[in-house]
Amino acid sequence: MPGHPQLGTKDWLIRVVISSGVVAGIWGLGLGVQAGLIEYVQRIVLLCGINIILAVGLNLINGTTGQFSIGHAGFMAVGAYATAFVGVKLAPGVAAALGAGALADGVVFNVALLVGALLSGVAGLAVGVPSLRLKGDYLAIVTLGFGEIIRLVFNNTKALGSATGYFGDSPAGLPPYTSFFWVWLWVVIVVLIVRNITFSQSGRSLIAIREDEIAAEAMATPTTRLKVTAFTVSAATAGIAGGLFAHMQSGIRPEDFKFEKSIDMIVMIIIGGLGSISGAVIGGIFLAVTLELMRDLQEYRLVLYALLLVIIMIVRPEGLLGTRELSLSFFKRKAGAK
Protein backbone atom coordinates (compact mmCIF):
# COMPACT_ATOMS: atom_id res chain seq x y z
CA MET A 1 0.00 0.00 0.00
CA PRO A 2 1.50 3.36 -0.97
CA GLY A 3 2.00 5.87 1.84
CA HIS A 4 0.42 9.28 1.82
CA PRO A 5 2.34 11.85 -0.22
CA GLN A 6 4.07 14.45 1.93
CA LEU A 7 2.25 17.74 1.89
CA GLY A 8 4.39 20.70 0.88
CA THR A 9 4.01 24.31 1.96
CA LYS A 10 1.94 25.04 -1.11
CA ASP A 11 -0.58 22.29 -0.33
CA TRP A 12 -0.92 23.59 3.20
CA LEU A 13 -1.46 27.10 1.90
CA ILE A 14 -4.25 25.88 -0.39
CA ARG A 15 -5.89 24.08 2.51
CA VAL A 16 -5.76 27.15 4.75
CA VAL A 17 -7.24 29.30 1.98
CA ILE A 18 -10.07 26.85 1.30
CA SER A 19 -10.85 26.47 5.01
CA SER A 20 -10.91 30.24 5.56
CA GLY A 21 -13.10 30.56 2.49
CA VAL A 22 -15.59 28.04 3.92
CA VAL A 23 -15.62 29.76 7.32
CA ALA A 24 -16.10 33.16 5.68
CA GLY A 25 -18.83 31.71 3.48
CA ILE A 26 -20.75 30.38 6.48
CA TRP A 27 -20.28 33.73 8.21
CA GLY A 28 -21.64 35.60 5.20
CA LEU A 29 -24.55 33.22 4.77
CA GLY A 30 -25.30 33.64 8.47
CA LEU A 31 -25.51 37.40 8.10
CA GLY A 32 -27.78 36.96 5.09
CA VAL A 33 -30.04 34.52 6.93
CA GLN A 34 -30.23 36.83 9.91
CA ALA A 35 -31.16 39.81 7.75
CA GLY A 36 -33.42 38.10 5.24
CA LEU A 37 -35.43 35.46 7.07
CA ILE A 38 -38.01 35.78 9.80
CA GLU A 39 -37.13 34.28 13.17
CA TYR A 40 -39.39 31.25 12.67
CA VAL A 41 -37.62 30.23 9.46
CA GLN A 42 -34.23 30.92 11.03
CA ARG A 43 -35.11 28.44 13.75
CA ILE A 44 -35.92 25.80 11.15
CA VAL A 45 -32.57 26.46 9.46
CA LEU A 46 -30.82 25.88 12.80
CA LEU A 47 -32.85 22.70 13.39
CA CYS A 48 -31.85 21.45 9.95
CA GLY A 49 -28.19 21.83 10.88
CA ILE A 50 -28.61 20.07 14.21
CA ASN A 51 -30.53 17.25 12.52
CA ILE A 52 -27.76 16.85 9.96
CA ILE A 53 -25.18 16.44 12.73
CA LEU A 54 -27.40 13.89 14.48
CA ALA A 55 -28.14 11.96 11.30
CA VAL A 56 -24.62 11.92 9.90
CA GLY A 57 -23.21 10.85 13.28
CA LEU A 58 -25.80 8.13 13.84
CA ASN A 59 -25.36 6.91 10.30
CA LEU A 60 -21.72 6.10 11.02
CA ILE A 61 -22.73 3.38 13.46
CA ASN A 62 -26.22 2.39 12.25
CA GLY A 63 -25.65 2.72 8.54
CA THR A 64 -21.97 2.27 7.79
CA THR A 65 -21.14 -0.22 10.53
CA GLY A 66 -24.57 -1.86 10.64
CA GLN A 67 -24.70 -1.90 14.44
CA PHE A 68 -28.13 -0.60 15.27
CA SER A 69 -28.41 1.88 18.11
CA ILE A 70 -31.87 3.06 19.12
CA GLY A 71 -30.72 4.95 22.21
CA HIS A 72 -28.74 7.88 20.82
CA ALA A 73 -31.03 10.39 22.48
CA GLY A 74 -29.16 9.48 25.66
CA PHE A 75 -25.83 10.66 24.23
CA MET A 76 -27.50 13.78 22.92
CA ALA A 77 -28.72 14.39 26.46
CA VAL A 78 -25.22 13.97 27.91
CA GLY A 79 -23.87 16.50 25.41
CA ALA A 80 -26.72 18.92 26.00
CA TYR A 81 -26.46 18.87 29.78
CA ALA A 82 -22.65 18.96 29.79
CA THR A 83 -22.50 21.87 27.33
CA ALA A 84 -25.16 23.85 29.15
CA PHE A 85 -23.62 23.23 32.58
CA VAL A 86 -20.01 23.92 31.58
CA GLY A 87 -21.06 26.96 29.56
CA VAL A 88 -22.96 28.47 32.47
CA LYS A 89 -20.11 27.87 34.93
CA LEU A 90 -17.40 29.09 32.54
CA ALA A 91 -19.09 32.23 31.25
CA PRO A 92 -18.35 34.66 34.14
CA GLY A 93 -14.62 33.82 34.24
CA VAL A 94 -14.11 34.09 30.48
CA ALA A 95 -16.15 37.29 30.30
CA ALA A 96 -13.89 38.77 33.01
CA ALA A 97 -10.74 37.79 31.11
CA LEU A 98 -11.77 38.68 27.56
CA GLY A 99 -14.47 41.27 28.20
CA ALA A 100 -18.12 40.40 27.62
CA GLY A 101 -19.09 40.15 23.97
CA ALA A 102 -19.23 37.89 20.94
CA LEU A 103 -15.63 36.72 21.36
CA ALA A 104 -16.13 35.59 24.97
CA ASP A 105 -19.44 33.93 24.05
CA GLY A 106 -17.83 32.08 21.16
CA VAL A 107 -14.97 30.83 23.32
CA VAL A 108 -17.28 29.71 26.12
CA PHE A 109 -19.69 28.01 23.72
CA ASN A 110 -17.08 26.08 21.81
CA VAL A 111 -15.14 24.99 24.87
CA ALA A 112 -18.43 23.83 26.39
CA LEU A 113 -19.36 22.02 23.17
CA LEU A 114 -16.01 20.23 23.14
CA VAL A 115 -16.45 19.19 26.76
CA GLY A 116 -19.95 17.98 25.86
CA ALA A 117 -18.62 16.01 22.91
CA LEU A 118 -15.86 14.53 25.09
CA LEU A 119 -18.28 13.47 27.83
CA SER A 120 -20.83 11.99 25.44
CA GLY A 121 -17.94 10.20 23.73
CA VAL A 122 -16.91 8.77 27.09
CA ALA A 123 -20.52 7.75 27.69
CA GLY A 124 -20.53 6.14 24.25
CA LEU A 125 -17.35 4.26 25.08
CA ALA A 126 -18.76 3.09 28.40
CA VAL A 127 -21.97 1.90 26.74
CA GLY A 128 -20.26 0.56 23.64
CA VAL A 129 -17.65 -1.69 25.26
CA PRO A 130 -20.12 -4.05 26.93
CA SER A 131 -23.00 -3.66 24.44
CA LEU A 132 -21.24 -4.16 21.13
CA ARG A 133 -20.66 -7.81 21.94
CA LEU A 134 -24.35 -8.16 21.15
CA LYS A 135 -25.81 -8.14 17.67
CA GLY A 136 -28.92 -7.10 15.83
CA ASP A 137 -32.02 -6.49 17.87
CA TYR A 138 -30.30 -7.43 21.14
CA LEU A 139 -27.87 -4.56 20.62
CA ALA A 140 -30.74 -2.27 19.68
CA ILE A 141 -32.60 -3.11 22.87
CA VAL A 142 -29.56 -2.66 25.09
CA THR A 143 -28.84 0.79 23.63
CA LEU A 144 -32.49 1.62 24.23
CA GLY A 145 -32.03 0.55 27.85
CA PHE A 146 -28.90 2.66 28.27
CA GLY A 147 -30.61 5.66 26.66
CA GLU A 148 -33.49 5.40 29.11
CA ILE A 149 -31.13 5.00 32.08
CA ILE A 150 -29.19 8.12 31.06
CA ARG A 151 -32.45 10.05 30.86
CA LEU A 152 -33.62 8.73 34.23
CA VAL A 153 -30.30 9.74 35.80
CA PHE A 154 -30.79 13.34 34.59
CA ASN A 155 -34.39 13.08 35.74
CA ASN A 156 -33.16 12.39 39.26
CA THR A 157 -30.09 14.68 39.47
CA LYS A 158 -30.97 17.66 41.67
CA ALA A 159 -27.96 19.79 40.58
CA LEU A 160 -29.28 19.64 37.00
CA GLY A 161 -32.85 20.51 37.89
CA SER A 162 -34.29 16.97 37.99
CA ALA A 163 -37.52 16.63 36.01
CA THR A 164 -38.06 20.42 35.70
CA GLY A 165 -34.93 20.68 33.60
CA TYR A 166 -31.76 22.75 33.62
CA PHE A 167 -32.08 26.48 32.96
CA GLY A 168 -28.67 27.75 34.07
CA ASP A 169 -28.11 30.15 36.95
CA SER A 170 -29.78 33.29 35.59
CA PRO A 171 -33.57 33.69 35.51
CA ALA A 172 -33.40 34.34 31.75
CA GLY A 173 -32.39 30.71 31.21
CA LEU A 174 -29.52 29.46 29.10
CA PRO A 175 -27.77 32.09 26.96
CA PRO A 176 -28.78 31.94 23.25
CA TYR A 177 -25.32 31.02 21.95
CA THR A 178 -26.61 28.86 19.10
CA SER A 179 -26.36 30.88 15.90
CA PHE A 180 -26.33 30.04 12.21
CA PHE A 181 -22.56 30.40 12.09
CA TRP A 182 -21.77 27.96 14.90
CA VAL A 183 -24.35 25.37 13.89
CA TRP A 184 -23.27 25.21 10.28
CA LEU A 185 -19.58 25.40 11.10
CA TRP A 186 -20.07 22.32 13.26
CA VAL A 187 -22.11 20.69 10.48
CA VAL A 188 -19.13 21.09 8.15
CA ILE A 189 -16.68 19.78 10.77
CA VAL A 190 -18.80 16.74 11.67
CA VAL A 191 -19.59 15.84 8.07
CA LEU A 192 -15.89 16.10 7.18
CA ILE A 193 -14.82 13.91 10.11
CA VAL A 194 -17.42 11.26 9.36
CA ARG A 195 -16.68 11.39 5.64
CA ASN A 196 -12.96 10.97 6.23
CA ILE A 197 -13.56 8.03 8.54
CA THR A 198 -15.96 6.40 6.08
CA PHE A 199 -13.61 6.63 3.12
CA SER A 200 -10.49 5.64 5.04
CA GLN A 201 -9.22 2.12 5.44
CA SER A 202 -10.99 1.85 8.80
CA GLY A 203 -14.18 2.96 7.10
CA ARG A 204 -13.87 0.12 4.62
CA SER A 205 -13.42 -2.25 7.54
CA LEU A 206 -16.59 -0.83 9.11
CA ILE A 207 -18.49 -1.63 5.92
CA ALA A 208 -16.95 -5.11 5.96
CA ILE A 209 -18.31 -5.56 9.49
CA ARG A 210 -21.75 -4.51 8.28
CA GLU A 211 -21.72 -6.91 5.38
CA ASP A 212 -20.42 -9.95 7.25
CA GLU A 213 -18.90 -9.69 10.66
CA ILE A 214 -17.55 -13.21 10.83
CA ALA A 215 -15.89 -12.91 7.43
CA ALA A 216 -14.41 -9.55 8.43
CA GLU A 217 -13.00 -11.09 11.58
CA ALA A 218 -11.55 -13.94 9.57
CA MET A 219 -9.73 -11.32 7.45
CA ALA A 220 -8.05 -10.09 10.66
CA THR A 221 -10.20 -6.97 10.98
CA PRO A 222 -10.14 -5.82 14.62
CA THR A 223 -13.94 -5.82 14.67
CA THR A 224 -14.52 -5.03 18.34
CA ARG A 225 -12.09 -2.11 18.43
CA LEU A 226 -13.50 -0.61 15.23
CA LYS A 227 -17.10 -1.01 16.32
CA VAL A 228 -16.40 0.64 19.66
CA THR A 229 -14.50 3.48 17.97
CA ALA A 230 -17.33 4.13 15.52
CA PHE A 231 -19.85 4.02 18.36
CA THR A 232 -17.80 6.49 20.42
CA VAL A 233 -17.42 8.95 17.53
CA SER A 234 -21.11 8.64 16.81
CA ALA A 235 -21.98 9.33 20.46
CA ALA A 236 -19.66 12.36 20.51
CA THR A 237 -21.34 13.89 17.44
CA ALA A 238 -24.74 13.35 19.06
CA GLY A 239 -23.31 15.23 22.05
CA ILE A 240 -22.36 18.20 19.87
CA ALA A 241 -25.85 18.27 18.41
CA GLY A 242 -27.19 18.13 21.95
CA GLY A 243 -25.08 21.12 22.99
CA LEU A 244 -26.21 23.17 19.98
CA PHE A 245 -29.80 22.15 20.69
CA ALA A 246 -29.51 23.15 24.37
CA HIS A 247 -28.51 26.73 23.66
CA MET A 248 -31.31 27.19 21.13
CA GLN A 249 -33.79 27.43 23.99
CA SER A 250 -33.93 28.73 27.52
CA GLY A 251 -33.53 25.31 29.09
CA ILE A 252 -33.35 21.57 28.57
CA ARG A 253 -35.57 18.96 30.17
CA PRO A 254 -35.04 15.20 30.46
CA GLU A 255 -38.20 14.66 28.41
CA ASP A 256 -36.55 16.38 25.44
CA PHE A 257 -34.43 13.25 25.12
CA LYS A 258 -37.01 10.49 25.28
CA PHE A 259 -37.06 7.37 23.16
CA GLU A 260 -39.02 9.31 20.51
CA LYS A 261 -35.95 11.48 19.88
CA SER A 262 -33.90 8.38 19.05
CA ILE A 263 -36.67 7.31 16.69
CA ASP A 264 -36.56 10.71 14.98
CA MET A 265 -32.85 10.24 14.33
CA ILE A 266 -33.45 6.78 12.92
CA VAL A 267 -36.19 8.08 10.66
CA MET A 268 -33.77 10.70 9.31
CA ILE A 269 -31.16 8.17 8.26
CA ILE A 270 -33.74 5.74 6.96
CA ILE A 271 -35.42 8.30 4.75
CA GLY A 272 -32.10 9.28 3.23
CA GLY A 273 -30.75 5.77 2.97
CA LEU A 274 -28.86 3.83 5.63
CA GLY A 275 -25.14 4.01 5.03
CA SER A 276 -25.11 7.15 2.90
CA ILE A 277 -23.71 10.41 4.28
CA SER A 278 -25.47 12.57 1.72
CA GLY A 279 -28.61 10.55 2.43
CA ALA A 280 -28.32 11.40 6.12
CA VAL A 281 -27.97 15.09 5.25
CA ILE A 282 -31.10 14.95 3.11
CA GLY A 283 -32.98 12.98 5.77
CA GLY A 284 -32.04 15.47 8.49
CA ILE A 285 -33.29 18.44 6.45
CA PHE A 286 -36.37 16.54 5.33
CA LEU A 287 -37.44 15.72 8.87
CA ALA A 288 -36.93 19.25 10.21
CA VAL A 289 -38.86 20.80 7.32
CA THR A 290 -41.73 18.27 7.09
CA LEU A 291 -42.38 18.24 10.82
CA GLU A 292 -42.60 22.04 10.68
CA LEU A 293 -44.80 22.07 7.59
CA MET A 294 -47.16 19.55 9.19
CA ARG A 295 -47.48 21.63 12.37
CA ASP A 296 -50.81 23.01 11.15
CA LEU A 297 -52.23 19.51 11.11
CA GLN A 298 -51.79 19.43 14.87
CA GLU A 299 -52.74 16.09 16.38
CA TYR A 300 -52.80 14.39 12.99
CA ARG A 301 -49.15 15.29 12.50
CA LEU A 302 -47.65 12.43 14.50
CA VAL A 303 -50.14 9.95 13.08
CA LEU A 304 -49.09 10.88 9.56
CA TYR A 305 -45.45 10.81 10.58
CA ALA A 306 -45.72 7.26 11.91
CA LEU A 307 -47.73 6.17 8.91
CA LEU A 308 -45.04 7.60 6.64
CA LEU A 309 -42.40 5.58 8.47
CA VAL A 310 -44.33 2.32 8.08
CA ILE A 311 -45.06 2.98 4.41
CA ILE A 312 -41.42 3.79 3.68
CA MET A 313 -40.35 0.55 5.32
CA ILE A 314 -42.80 -1.47 3.25
CA VAL A 315 -42.33 0.31 -0.06
CA ARG A 316 -38.72 1.41 -0.05
CA PRO A 317 -36.81 0.10 2.97
CA GLU A 318 -33.44 1.18 1.59
CA GLY A 319 -34.43 4.88 1.67
CA LEU A 320 -34.01 7.48 -1.04
CA LEU A 321 -30.38 6.82 -1.84
CA GLY A 322 -29.70 3.37 -0.44
CA THR A 323 -26.00 3.26 0.36
CA ARG A 324 -25.11 5.46 -2.62
CA GLU A 325 -23.62 8.93 -2.19
CA LEU A 326 -24.65 12.09 -3.97
CA SER A 327 -21.58 13.72 -5.43
CA LEU A 328 -20.57 15.52 -8.60
CA SER A 329 -19.42 12.32 -10.26
CA PHE A 330 -22.78 10.72 -9.39
CA PHE A 331 -24.59 13.41 -11.37
CA LYS A 332 -22.08 13.10 -14.20
CA ARG A 333 -22.72 9.37 -14.37
CA LYS A 334 -26.47 9.99 -14.43
CA ALA A 335 -26.06 12.50 -17.22
CA GLY A 336 -23.75 10.13 -19.09
CA ALA A 337 -26.20 7.27 -18.80
CA LYS A 338 -28.84 9.32 -20.56
Partner: protein, 305 residues
Protein backbone atom coordinates in the same frame (compact mmCIF):
# COMPACT_ATOMS: atom_id res chain seq x y z
CA UNK B 1 -41.26 -7.86 57.92
CA UNK B 2 -44.86 -7.10 57.06
CA UNK B 3 -43.62 -4.29 54.83
CA UNK B 4 -41.53 -6.83 52.96
CA UNK B 5 -44.50 -9.15 52.44
CA UNK B 6 -46.59 -6.18 51.34
CA UNK B 7 -44.03 -5.36 48.64
CA UNK B 8 -43.88 -9.00 47.60
CA UNK B 9 -47.68 -9.16 47.22
CA UNK B 10 -47.72 -5.94 45.20
CA UNK B 11 -44.72 -7.08 43.18
CA UNK B 12 -46.26 -10.42 42.32
CA UNK B 13 -49.53 -8.89 41.16
CA UNK B 14 -47.71 -6.30 39.03
CA UNK B 15 -45.41 -9.08 37.81
CA UNK B 16 -48.40 -11.19 36.73
CA UNK B 17 -49.49 -8.36 34.47
CA UNK B 18 -45.98 -8.07 33.02
CA UNK B 19 -45.97 -11.82 32.50
CA UNK B 20 -49.24 -11.71 30.53
CA UNK B 21 -47.82 -9.03 28.23
CA UNK B 22 -44.41 -10.69 28.02
CA UNK B 23 -46.01 -13.87 26.66
CA UNK B 24 -47.06 -12.00 23.52
CA UNK B 25 -43.56 -10.65 22.98
CA UNK B 26 -41.92 -13.99 23.51
CA UNK B 27 -44.33 -15.99 21.31
CA UNK B 28 -43.93 -13.59 18.39
CA UNK B 29 -40.18 -13.46 18.83
CA UNK B 30 -40.04 -17.24 19.01
CA UNK B 31 -41.70 -17.52 15.61
CA UNK B 32 -40.65 -14.44 13.62
CA UNK B 33 -37.49 -13.29 15.49
CA UNK B 34 -39.21 -9.91 15.62
CA UNK B 35 -39.50 -7.55 18.57
CA UNK B 36 -43.13 -6.60 18.19
CA UNK B 37 -42.99 -3.04 19.51
CA UNK B 38 -46.66 -2.58 18.66
CA UNK B 39 -47.54 -5.13 21.33
CA UNK B 40 -47.47 -2.44 24.01
CA UNK B 41 -50.12 -0.53 22.06
CA UNK B 42 -52.23 -3.65 21.65
CA UNK B 43 -52.13 -3.82 25.45
CA UNK B 44 -53.27 -0.20 25.65
CA UNK B 45 -56.10 -0.76 23.18
CA UNK B 46 -57.18 -3.78 25.22
CA UNK B 47 -57.43 -1.65 28.34
CA UNK B 48 -59.46 1.00 26.48
CA UNK B 49 -61.77 -1.55 24.90
CA UNK B 50 -62.49 -2.85 28.38
CA UNK B 51 -63.12 0.71 29.50
CA UNK B 52 -65.66 1.38 26.78
CA UNK B 53 -67.25 -2.07 27.01
CA UNK B 54 -67.86 -1.60 30.73
CA UNK B 55 -69.33 1.81 29.96
CA UNK B 56 -71.64 0.34 27.32
CA UNK B 57 -72.82 -2.29 29.79
CA UNK B 58 -73.97 0.50 32.10
CA UNK B 59 -71.36 0.36 34.84
CA UNK B 60 -71.85 4.02 35.70
CA UNK B 61 -75.53 3.58 36.55
CA UNK B 62 -74.75 0.58 38.71
CA UNK B 63 -72.01 2.49 40.48
CA UNK B 64 -74.29 5.44 41.23
CA UNK B 65 -76.85 3.12 42.77
CA UNK B 66 -74.03 1.57 44.77
CA UNK B 67 -74.59 -1.82 43.15
CA UNK B 68 -71.66 -4.04 42.20
CA UNK B 69 -70.93 -4.91 38.57
CA UNK B 70 -72.09 -8.51 38.11
CA UNK B 71 -69.32 -11.03 37.63
CA UNK B 72 -70.69 -12.41 34.34
CA UNK B 73 -70.64 -8.91 32.86
CA UNK B 74 -67.03 -8.51 34.01
CA UNK B 75 -66.25 -11.67 32.08
CA UNK B 76 -68.05 -10.24 29.03
CA UNK B 77 -65.87 -7.11 29.28
CA UNK B 78 -62.77 -9.28 29.45
CA UNK B 79 -63.83 -11.34 26.43
CA UNK B 80 -64.75 -8.30 24.34
CA UNK B 81 -61.39 -6.66 25.05
CA UNK B 82 -59.49 -9.85 24.33
CA UNK B 83 -61.26 -10.35 21.01
CA UNK B 84 -60.77 -6.73 19.95
CA UNK B 85 -57.06 -6.88 20.71
CA UNK B 86 -56.68 -10.24 19.02
CA UNK B 87 -58.22 -8.74 15.90
CA UNK B 88 -55.91 -5.72 16.10
CA UNK B 89 -52.85 -7.93 16.55
CA UNK B 90 -53.77 -10.04 13.53
CA UNK B 91 -54.43 -6.91 11.44
CA UNK B 92 -51.07 -5.40 12.37
CA UNK B 93 -49.30 -8.57 11.35
CA UNK B 94 -51.26 -8.87 8.13
CA UNK B 95 -50.90 -5.24 7.00
CA UNK B 96 -47.49 -4.21 8.28
CA UNK B 97 -45.32 -7.20 9.17
CA UNK B 98 -46.17 -9.69 6.47
CA UNK B 99 -44.98 -7.46 3.59
CA UNK B 100 -41.56 -7.06 5.24
CA UNK B 101 -41.23 -10.55 6.64
CA UNK B 102 -38.48 -11.64 4.26
CA UNK B 103 -36.62 -8.28 4.36
CA UNK B 104 -33.34 -7.90 6.30
CA UNK B 105 -33.99 -8.10 10.01
CA UNK B 106 -33.80 -4.40 10.78
CA UNK B 107 -36.61 -3.55 8.38
CA UNK B 108 -39.28 -5.40 10.39
CA UNK B 109 -37.84 -3.93 13.59
CA UNK B 110 -38.24 -0.37 12.33
CA UNK B 111 -41.66 -1.22 10.90
CA UNK B 112 -42.67 -2.43 14.34
CA UNK B 113 -41.48 0.82 15.91
CA UNK B 114 -43.47 2.71 13.28
CA UNK B 115 -46.65 0.73 13.93
CA UNK B 116 -46.19 1.31 17.65
CA UNK B 117 -45.90 5.07 17.11
CA UNK B 118 -48.88 5.00 14.76
CA UNK B 119 -51.18 3.20 17.20
CA UNK B 120 -49.99 5.38 20.06
CA UNK B 121 -50.79 8.58 18.20
CA UNK B 122 -54.08 7.19 16.92
CA UNK B 123 -54.83 6.38 20.54
CA UNK B 124 -54.15 9.99 21.53
CA UNK B 125 -56.51 11.07 18.78
CA UNK B 126 -59.34 8.63 19.41
CA UNK B 127 -59.17 8.21 23.18
CA UNK B 128 -57.88 11.77 23.87
CA UNK B 129 -54.64 12.21 25.86
CA UNK B 130 -56.50 12.74 29.18
CA UNK B 131 -56.05 9.96 31.71
CA UNK B 132 -59.31 8.10 32.44
CA UNK B 133 -60.43 6.60 35.69
CA UNK B 134 -60.85 2.87 35.17
CA UNK B 135 -64.37 1.64 35.99
CA UNK B 136 -64.49 -0.71 39.02
CA UNK B 137 -65.41 -3.84 37.11
CA UNK B 138 -64.61 -5.60 40.36
CA UNK B 139 -65.48 -3.77 43.53
CA UNK B 140 -62.47 -3.47 45.80
CA UNK B 141 -62.60 -5.33 49.11
CA UNK B 142 -59.62 -5.00 51.42
CA UNK B 143 -58.67 -7.48 54.07
CA UNK B 144 -55.70 -7.90 56.33
CA UNK B 145 -53.58 -11.00 56.71
CA UNK B 146 -51.05 -10.64 59.52
CA UNK B 147 -50.35 -6.96 58.90
CA UNK B 148 -50.32 -7.34 55.11
CA UNK B 149 -53.12 -5.65 53.20
CA UNK B 150 -54.50 -7.81 50.41
CA UNK B 151 -57.30 -6.74 48.10
CA UNK B 152 -59.61 -8.94 46.11
CA UNK B 153 -58.31 -7.13 43.01
CA UNK B 154 -54.80 -8.42 43.62
CA UNK B 155 -56.21 -11.91 44.13
CA UNK B 156 -58.24 -11.60 40.94
CA UNK B 157 -55.10 -10.61 39.06
CA UNK B 158 -53.37 -13.79 40.28
CA UNK B 159 -56.34 -15.98 39.50
CA UNK B 160 -57.03 -14.57 36.04
CA UNK B 161 -53.34 -14.80 35.17
CA UNK B 162 -53.13 -18.38 36.41
CA UNK B 163 -56.25 -19.39 34.48
CA UNK B 164 -55.02 -17.78 31.27
CA UNK B 165 -51.64 -19.43 31.62
CA UNK B 166 -53.18 -22.82 32.16
CA UNK B 167 -55.25 -22.21 29.04
CA UNK B 168 -52.17 -21.18 27.11
CA UNK B 169 -50.28 -24.24 28.29
CA UNK B 170 -53.12 -26.47 27.10
CA UNK B 171 -53.31 -24.66 23.79
CA UNK B 172 -49.60 -24.83 23.06
CA UNK B 173 -48.96 -28.35 24.31
CA UNK B 174 -52.19 -30.19 23.59
CA UNK B 175 -53.77 -28.79 20.43
CA UNK B 176 -52.87 -28.97 16.76
CA UNK B 177 -52.56 -25.18 16.55
CA UNK B 178 -50.12 -25.26 19.43
CA UNK B 179 -48.15 -28.05 17.85
CA UNK B 180 -47.98 -26.04 14.61
CA UNK B 181 -46.81 -22.99 16.57
CA UNK B 182 -44.03 -24.98 18.19
CA UNK B 183 -42.99 -26.41 14.84
CA UNK B 184 -42.90 -23.00 13.17
CA UNK B 185 -40.80 -21.57 16.00
CA UNK B 186 -38.22 -24.34 15.56
CA UNK B 187 -37.92 -23.85 11.82
CA UNK B 188 -40.35 -21.89 9.69
CA UNK B 189 -39.29 -23.29 6.32
CA UNK B 190 -39.22 -26.89 7.50
CA UNK B 191 -42.66 -26.44 9.05
CA UNK B 192 -43.95 -25.13 5.73
CA UNK B 193 -42.54 -28.18 3.96
CA UNK B 194 -44.34 -30.40 6.46
CA UNK B 195 -47.62 -28.93 5.25
CA UNK B 196 -48.20 -26.49 8.09
CA UNK B 197 -50.06 -23.35 7.06
CA UNK B 198 -47.42 -21.00 8.45
CA UNK B 199 -49.34 -17.80 7.71
CA UNK B 200 -52.34 -19.06 9.64
CA UNK B 201 -50.13 -20.21 12.49
CA UNK B 202 -48.42 -16.82 12.68
CA UNK B 203 -51.82 -15.11 12.69
CA UNK B 204 -52.93 -17.41 15.50
CA UNK B 205 -49.81 -16.55 17.48
CA UNK B 206 -50.51 -12.83 17.11
CA UNK B 207 -54.15 -13.36 18.08
CA UNK B 208 -53.30 -15.32 21.24
CA UNK B 209 -50.50 -12.98 22.33
CA UNK B 210 -52.68 -9.93 21.75
CA UNK B 211 -55.62 -11.41 23.65
CA UNK B 212 -53.35 -12.07 26.63
CA UNK B 213 -52.08 -8.49 26.43
CA UNK B 214 -55.68 -7.22 26.49
CA UNK B 215 -56.35 -9.22 29.65
CA UNK B 216 -53.19 -7.66 31.05
CA UNK B 217 -54.55 -4.25 30.07
CA UNK B 218 -57.79 -4.70 31.98
CA UNK B 219 -55.98 -6.04 35.04
CA UNK B 220 -53.56 -3.12 34.79
CA UNK B 221 -56.50 -0.69 34.71
CA UNK B 222 -58.05 -2.34 37.77
CA UNK B 223 -54.74 -2.30 39.63
CA UNK B 224 -53.53 1.20 38.71
CA UNK B 225 -56.99 2.88 38.55
CA UNK B 226 -56.14 5.28 35.68
CA UNK B 227 -55.28 4.59 32.06
CA UNK B 228 -53.98 6.83 29.27
CA UNK B 229 -52.93 6.29 25.65
CA UNK B 230 -49.23 6.28 26.58
CA UNK B 231 -49.63 3.62 29.26
CA UNK B 232 -48.25 0.97 26.95
CA UNK B 233 -44.83 2.46 26.35
CA UNK B 234 -43.16 1.89 29.69
CA UNK B 235 -45.21 -1.14 30.72
CA UNK B 236 -44.59 -2.74 27.35
CA UNK B 237 -40.86 -2.14 27.62
CA UNK B 238 -40.80 -3.69 31.07
CA UNK B 239 -42.74 -6.69 29.83
CA UNK B 240 -40.31 -7.02 26.97
CA UNK B 241 -37.41 -6.94 29.43
CA UNK B 242 -39.25 -9.66 31.35
CA UNK B 243 -39.37 -11.76 28.18
CA UNK B 244 -35.63 -11.23 27.61
CA UNK B 245 -34.86 -11.98 31.24
CA UNK B 246 -36.69 -15.29 31.09
CA UNK B 247 -35.19 -16.17 27.74
CA UNK B 248 -36.89 -14.74 24.71
CA UNK B 249 -38.93 -17.25 22.75
CA UNK B 250 -39.43 -19.32 25.89
CA UNK B 251 -43.00 -19.36 27.27
CA UNK B 252 -42.33 -20.39 30.90
CA UNK B 253 -39.39 -17.97 30.81
CA UNK B 254 -41.73 -15.04 30.13
CA UNK B 255 -43.74 -15.90 33.23
CA UNK B 256 -40.66 -16.22 35.44
CA UNK B 257 -39.22 -13.00 33.98
CA UNK B 258 -42.47 -11.09 34.48
CA UNK B 259 -42.76 -12.06 38.13
CA UNK B 260 -39.09 -11.25 38.79
CA UNK B 261 -39.35 -7.82 37.15
CA UNK B 262 -42.50 -7.02 39.11
CA UNK B 263 -40.83 -8.07 42.37
CA UNK B 264 -37.62 -6.17 41.63
CA UNK B 265 -39.57 -3.03 40.78
CA UNK B 266 -41.65 -3.08 43.96
CA UNK B 267 -38.69 -3.90 46.20
CA UNK B 268 -36.62 -1.06 44.72
CA UNK B 269 -39.57 1.32 45.06
CA UNK B 270 -40.09 0.26 48.66
CA UNK B 271 -36.53 0.03 49.93
CA UNK B 272 -34.37 2.26 47.71
CA UNK B 273 -36.41 5.07 46.19
CA UNK B 274 -39.56 5.25 44.07
CA UNK B 275 -37.56 7.43 41.66
CA UNK B 276 -35.56 4.40 40.58
CA UNK B 277 -38.39 1.92 40.11
CA UNK B 278 -38.26 2.38 36.32
CA UNK B 279 -34.47 2.43 36.13
CA UNK B 280 -34.10 -0.98 37.80
CA UNK B 281 -35.82 -2.68 34.87
CA UNK B 282 -33.28 -1.30 32.43
CA UNK B 283 -30.38 -2.14 34.73
CA UNK B 284 -31.65 -5.74 34.84
CA UNK B 285 -32.00 -5.72 31.07
CA UNK B 286 -28.43 -4.59 30.52
CA UNK B 287 -26.93 -6.94 33.09
CA UNK B 288 -28.79 -9.95 31.72
CA UNK B 289 -28.01 -9.14 28.08
CA UNK B 290 -24.33 -8.72 28.81
CA UNK B 291 -23.90 -11.67 31.17
CA UNK B 292 -26.42 -14.15 29.79
CA UNK B 293 -28.11 -12.91 26.60
CA UNK B 294 -30.08 -16.15 26.24
CA UNK B 295 -31.92 -15.39 29.51
CA UNK B 296 -32.60 -17.52 32.57
CA UNK B 297 -34.40 -20.37 30.83
CA UNK B 298 -33.08 -19.78 27.33
CA UNK B 299 -30.87 -22.11 25.32
CA UNK B 300 -27.52 -20.98 23.88
CA UNK B 301 -27.50 -21.00 20.11
CA UNK B 302 -24.15 -21.07 18.36
CA UNK B 303 -23.80 -18.70 15.45
CA UNK B 304 -22.97 -20.50 12.24
CA UNK B 305 -21.22 -19.15 9.19
Amino acid sequence: MSQFFQQVINGLSLGSIYALIALGYTMVYGILKLINFAHSEVFMVGAYTGFYAAGALGIEGLEQRGAAFPLYLALVVLLVAMSASALLGVLVERLAYRPVRSAPRLTPLITAIGVSLLLQNLGMLVFTPNPRRYPPIIKEVRFELGGVIVTNIKLTIFLVTLALMAGLWYLVQRTWTGRAMRAVSVNLDAAKLMGIDTNRTISATFAIGSALAAAGGILFGLDQITINPLMGTLTGLKAFVAAVLGGIGNIPGAVVGGLLIGLAEQLVAGYVSPDYRDAITFVILIVILILRPEGILGVVRQEKV
